[in-house]
């Protein structure tokens, strides 16, 4: 059927080609080993040579939609005041599949009526499954998925409100396209509201 050993040699030919290629390809990147260009080359159709990258010196770029444990967005008000967008409506807590979001609503002490702001906000990051439903269904663009995946620790990762709050400019930096879309949508909504009132 086969000449005995022919198939093995054919296979070894592939590994030999790969072996040589990995050295030849390295020559093209002398001095540019840790450049962004080289990392981009790794996930392109022309990739050849050594496939692995050297974490943590090199890191694969995180695409915009990449999602990791969520954070709460705040807008920077005047004199650096943090204005949290969250109204504690509880939609994220209801949509959350492993139920890892815990919210205590603020109540006005004088009237006893709820104030649209969370008093306490917890995300149990060890239970969070990074599905992104909270960010997807939040009507106020207040909770978003993060890109920071290096949060390993020795203890429990229970994130409270202070730890979760990140600025709107940070959000714009990790998800520029999404942010632009949302800013535009909010502006259109405001304009429609103003037109209706006027």
């Amino acid at each position: 059927m086969y000449g005995y050993g022919k198939g093995i040699l054919k296979g070894l030919g592939v590994t030999l080609k790969r072996f040589v290629e990995s050295y030849l390809e390295d020559l093209n990147w002398i001095g540019k080993k840790y450049s962004a260009e080289k990392t981009a080359f790794h996930s392109s159709k022309n990739q050849r040579g050594t496939f692995t990258i050297e974490y943590p010196e090199q890191k694969l770029p995180t695409p915009e939609e990449f999602r990791f444990v969520p954070f709460l967005v705040y807008d920077e008000g005047e004199s650096g005041k943090k204005e949290i967008r969250c109204t504690s409506c509880g939609i994220c807590a209801k949509a959350c599949p492993p139920q890892c979001i815990w919210i205590v609503r603020t109540t006005d002490p004088s009237t006893g009526r709820p104030v649209p702001q969370p008093a306490e906000f917890y995300i149990d990051a060890d239970i969070c499954m990074n599905c992104g439903f909270c960010a997807e269904y939040c009507p106020f663009d207040a909770i978003k998925m993060d890109h920071d995946y290096e949060i390993a620790s020795y203890g429990r990762n229970l994130l409270n409100k202070e730890r979760l709050m990140k600025s709107a400019s940070y959000y714009a930096s990790i998800r520029p396209l999404n942010n632009a879309r949302e800013v535009e949508a909010r502006r259109a909504k405001e304009a429609a509201k103003a037109a209706k009132a006027g």
């Binding site: 296979g11 499954m129 998925m145």
Partner: protein, 580 residues
């Protein structure tokens, strides 16, 4: 491709008094009185031609005080599934005749229903617990059984909002109190008499004999649960005569988390990210059939572009699944990591696309009822096209050159693990292994879903039904997947990717639905029942790994124990969906 006609035989007229049509609103199929189950099932198989049983699951109708077992059967010549049911009063002992004598493929599924619901299948050859351990008390899938971290029957939990003072889960139910024991049972004082007694009793008996003046004995070998070639925590108990397998039994459940119970607590939407954790190599395919089942009940039509995206993602997923299989199979056969890592390179590039589109490499959570969550962006679309048209065809060819003709590989695969086509059908084998036995059954053609009827592609078939054919068949399938992808990428049109507005609660009308797709490993089916509330009343998954393993003993007996590794590798199990 025409849609096959619905079965014309009226079973209720054929068997008056024994069979009635299921007239509950939203339900379909036949209800067979349990006394006549085997008789009618034999008729369905022999006279109506439904030669393979695909799904068998129990449902606990607590309010109606009734246990129901649902069967889905199909014809290997094509067409939709036929559903029939058997009911029993919900008073222990609950007994329903076993259909193993009609469809041997029911064996593990009946054991599962016994394990989780406590239904005794009379006539079953080996009725033991399968996913839970032998000392476990109670039947965890029953509606009135409550798990250790039980808070409420259904999510969302009231304790989370608006007074969501956080409590660590481990402080609510400390270890030790999180399993239900029989009254008076103390796990610290319990000494098992012989916990494996039941298991070993089902194996072929030990035999001592004198050969050439030497007394020989059969040996029992436990492979796993911690064994690198079982791809996770899977255990096989084999009786060996020298190196030859005399009898072998799978033992599973080490990764069991009662996915289906979690599914019943979840809302409809919340189940989608959980489906990613079943077959974690193919999370892009898993939610598809769940979405199909729920869309069927809700009557949603998926927009055109979303259908194309589903096909593109699904077929990319199939390619990378088969690549992993090749890589890991070679790893198991002893060539260490070279082929595995070569295969992983192309998989990485596919996962890069998944990550850019869905946000995660493996836990994609990309499907929604009525479409997909977001469109493929320009850059990813360009990458997919480059991969499908420029890179993958050449790289697949390279892997083919690297592996397919290797004499050592061929001699280990050829003629090993034979399973006849008749047995394949009887044991409910689906997917590539069925097609390698010469049965051209592929749900994408036989019972088309999505828009698969628009593409031109072949269903590859091989006829020797050995490991080598199963390997070649998967290589053929990759080529066909590329063909589908190339057509889909040319045909895809602009448009919305989600029907209606995004919403996190869904109204699903009362009823049942069974959604099935041809996942890379075989038929993946979801049987869901709605009682009109925000959570599924029943959420059952028929996973290809679990059902395909039924035929393992048939394939292994007579081969060497070393071949078991290759056979298991070719069944292509993944423990996330085997144990659920």
């Amino acid at each position: 491709m025409t849609t096959p006609v619905v079965e014309a035989i009226n079973l209720a007229e054929k068997f008056p008094g024994k069979v009635t049509a299921d007239a509950r609103p939203g339900y379909s199929g036949w209800i067979i009185s349990k006394e006549n189950l085997v008789e009618v099932a034999t008729f369905i198989r022999d006279e109506m031609g439904y030669d393979a049983l695909t799904n068998l699951c129990a449902i606990d109708y607590l309010e109606q005080k009734m246990m129901e077992v649902t069967y889905q059967v199909f014809k290997t010549t094509g067409g939709p599934v036929l559903t029939f049911k058997a009911q029993a009063e919900r008073v222990d002992p609950i007994e329903i005749p076993s259909v193993v004598s009609v469809w041997p493929g029911a064996e593990l599924q009946e054991r599962e229903a016994y394990d989780l619901y406590g239904i005794r299948f009379v006539g079953h050859p080996d009725l033991r617990r399968i996913l839970m351990w032998e000392g476990f008390d109670g039947y965890p899938m029953r509606r009135d059984w409550k798990e250790a971290f039980y808070e409420e029957d259904a999510k969302p939990l009231k304790s989370r909002w608006p007074e969501g003072k956080h409590k660590l889960a481990e402080t609510r139910a400390t270890f030790g109190d999180n399993v239900a024991f029989k009254p008076g049972f103390d796990p610290d004082k319990w000494i098992p008499s012989d916990p494996e007694e039941l298991l070993y009793a089902t194996l072929k008996n030990y035999k001592s004999e004198v050969k050439d003046g030497i007394k020989t004995d059969h040996v029992v070998v436990n492979m796993g649960p911690q064994h690198p070639s079982t791809h996770g925590v899977f255990r096989a108990v084999a009786v060996l005569d020298g190196e030859i397998v005399v009898s072998i039994k799978p033992v599973m459940g080490y990764l069991h988390r009662n996915h289906e119970k979690i599914g019943e607590r979840n809302t409809w939407l919340q189940n989608i990210p959980y489906t990613d954790r079943l077959d974690y190599f193919n999370s892009m395919y898993n939610a598809w059939s769940y979405a199909l089942a729920v869309e069927k009940m809700m009557g949603i039509t998926v927009p055109e572009r979303a259908e194309y995206i589903r096909v593109i993602m699904g077929e990319l997923s199939r390619i990378q699944n088969h690549l992993i299989l090749f890589g890991m199979l070679w790893n198991d056969l002893g060539s260490y990591f070279t082929p595995a890592l070569y295969a992983f390179e192309e998989r990485e590039l596919i996962l890069d696309i998944f990550e850019a589109v869905s946000g995660s490499r493996m836990m994609c959570n990309y499907y929604r009822f009525g479409g997909v969550v977001r469109d493929i962006d320009e850059a990813s679309m360009k990458k997919i096209k480059e991969l499908v048209f420029d890179r993958l065809p050449g790289k697949i060819e390279e892997i083919d050159r690297l592996l397919s003709e290797n004499e050592i590989f061929v001699s280990r695969m050829k003629g090993v693990g034979y399973l006849s086509p008749e047995d394949s059908i009887a044991y409910s084998v689906t997917g590539p292994n069925l097609r390698a036995a010469g049965v051209p059954y592929d749900i994408r053609r036989a019972d088309p879903y999505g828009i698969y009827d628009r593409f031109e592609f072949d269903i590859p078939v091989r006829h020797n039904s050995d490991l080598l054919d199963r390997y070649h068949l998967r290589m053929d399938e990759i080529h066909q997947s590329l063909r589908i992808l190339q057509q889909a990428l040319k045909q895809i049109t602009e448009g919305p990717v989600l029907a209606g507005k995004p919403q996190y609660t869904h109204r699903v009308p009362v009823g049942e639905a069974y959604g099935r797709v041809e996942a890379p490993k075989g038929e993946l089916g979801y049987y869901v029942v709605s009682n009109g509330k925000g959570n599924p009343y029943r959420y059952h998954i028929r996973t290809p790994s679990f059902v395909n393993i039924t035929s393992m003993e048939k394939m292994c007996v007579g081969t060497k124990i070393a071949d078991f590794v290759a056979i298991l590798g070719m069944v292509d199990i993944v423990l996330g969906e085997l144990d659920r």
